[in-house]
Amino acid sequence: MFFTENQLTKPQDKLTQLLAETPGLWRGNQREHGDNLQSGRQSSAQLPSIQISGDLFAVPESIVAPEQSPAPTQSTGFSDLDQLLPGGGWPVSGLVEIISRHKAIGELQLLMPLLRLRSHQPQSLLWITPPYKLHGPALAQSGVNIRNSFVIPAQTRCNHALWSIEKALQSTECGMVLAWQNWLGGRVIRRLQMAACEGKTLGVLFHQRPTPHSPATLQLELSAAPDTDEGYRQIGIRLLRAKGSHRQGEIRLRLPG
């Protein structure tokens, strides 16, 4: 069997070759980078104290995309997760995809501090097609204001559920939308993401399979992790994608209780 040259070349080799051919693109000195900034919207005079050298990937993201102000975030209630997520917490609005192959591995526990906070605001919480019945006493025990929560049950048809998610995300009356769907295509997620941006609402979508090239604000994959020696529950969190950020990473988080 014969192979062409392209097929034999590894991706790393191609990247090295590309970097060698265009040194100014990825690596450069301070002067070159300053020239680039001057050609951009923001002048270099606004960034006098920044020392840039070496790899461009080491440069803070705010400099790479200076025209974009950082999206407001809200602390997750877990310091490790705050460090993992760009902006230091959950986005205040937008779509968050949470992918977990199995249910009941602690996916709601992860959101509990946020739910506690949002449920006590005037806007209501909407739970769309949760896999099982929500247990009011347990939610109340966790500090969630159930008076402000409304549920569309799992028996609802998929098209009705999607319509409801979109309307809820577009609405300013809804503080947070939590929706469970087995899988959604990129186009649907894009539409929901636009709805969330329009209504400045936070939507959390629980999936079983990741959507490739998802336009969501944040895409996280959860996995089960063994309990700690003290008997605390743990969960593995992998940051797959965050809008406007190249950050990726994986942590293991200890859950309360």
């Binding site: 249910k103 099982y132 025990q141 609405s171």
Partner: protein, 477 residues
Amino acid sequence: MTANRRALKQGGAPFLRAIPHSFHKPVLLTNKPFWYALHFPLLNGHVHTPIDELATICLSVSDHVYLPGHDTLVIDIRGSLRLFGSPRGLSRTLRPKLEDKLRQLDLAPLYTEAASPSASASVLLARLGRTVLIQQKDGLRSELGGLAIDFLAVDKKIKKRLASCGLHYLRDLWRLPSAALRLRFGRELSDYLSELQGEIKTSMPRWHEPLVFNRNISPEAHAETPSDILWLARQLLEQLVTFLRQHHKTTDHLHFNLTDIKLQTQTIELSTRKPARESSVWLMLLELKLQKAVITCSITSIHLICSNFLDYLPGGAHPSCKAGKQAGSDKTTPTLLELLSARLGEEAIFSIHQQEDHDPVIAGYYKAYGHTYALMSHSESPRSCGFLPTGTQPCLLLPAPVPLAIQQQRPVYLSPLLLVRGPERVETRWWTGQDIQRDYYVARNLQGMRLWIFRDLKRSREPETAKSCWFLQGLFA
């Protein structure tokens, strides 16, 4: 004659005549109120009292209809006597209409009537079945004097005290000085006696005809599509908005009746959580309802009925509007939950509730959104009583416990379960005969799922069911 001359000067009707002195009956042409009471003894204890329908008939003789009780009507007929000549003439006009209505309501056409210058006296006499006409105020004392005190509408304790003093008839009370009566038996009795004699006015709730908006539109070209229906509905809604503005009202519920070419009627009910009188709100809700409705034939007529009205309060002044929230009476778009319930149905959106019970299935429950909002708007009942479970309970609960398989004496859910925490015993409902005796555990499987399982103690005691005594109740998501 003065009036006649003046009318002729102004080019008015030349046939105006002065009323002869013989028609100047002292009671009939007085400006003082004259009360005609009707008592319907068969309405007492009727579940759905049709007093409103009877009161509507009474509006044909006077605008001033009062409702002192659910079985009695009182009419101020001072202005009507000029037309009907006398209370007897008025009674003769009213009687056939009332009797027909009572027959329509499957009731015997029986009622008693009384008329006098005192509303309380008229009501008392009508309730006692004494059909009398007392024209003069002076005649009240003598006519009422023979009535026993037991029939008076005063407190039982006062009646007992009067009886213990040897006062059994009203004439006994007439003889006593009113100041002494007030001092000894209280203001309630003395005021009631004054009302009976027509000295002070009786306070009674005035009856108003229920407001109903009922309009129909039948286009020459039948409505074939939802957009046709919406176009027609828009016209009806604009009429409704005008009606609401004229009456200074708003509404939170209305319904459309769509009649098709086969004369079958389909009702579409629309309701909002907060009252609204903007047609755009109702049109948006109707559009969503029409998306769900199945319309097979072309629509020949659309009927809009609205009977649930609320006083219009501008801005955020409506009681249902909390501070910082959208004004209820001035809103131009429906709320999210109204939109969702219009599209999905009111039985498709639920609110989460809890109650104090050790059985987790009963402790947490859903209630349909429509029912919840009706409950909250009318009684402001709390959605939870602040009950918190004592042990650890999961956020997701199965609708009914699912039996778990057993492998090597261990319960299995996808993989063998490891008991992490427990047991927590729950024993309840022993008084119902379907008692619960369970040991709850928090378990974990190899997939990392944390589950809430229980061991049914009743089943575990019996050899036949001992192997299938483990159940899955919830998931710690």
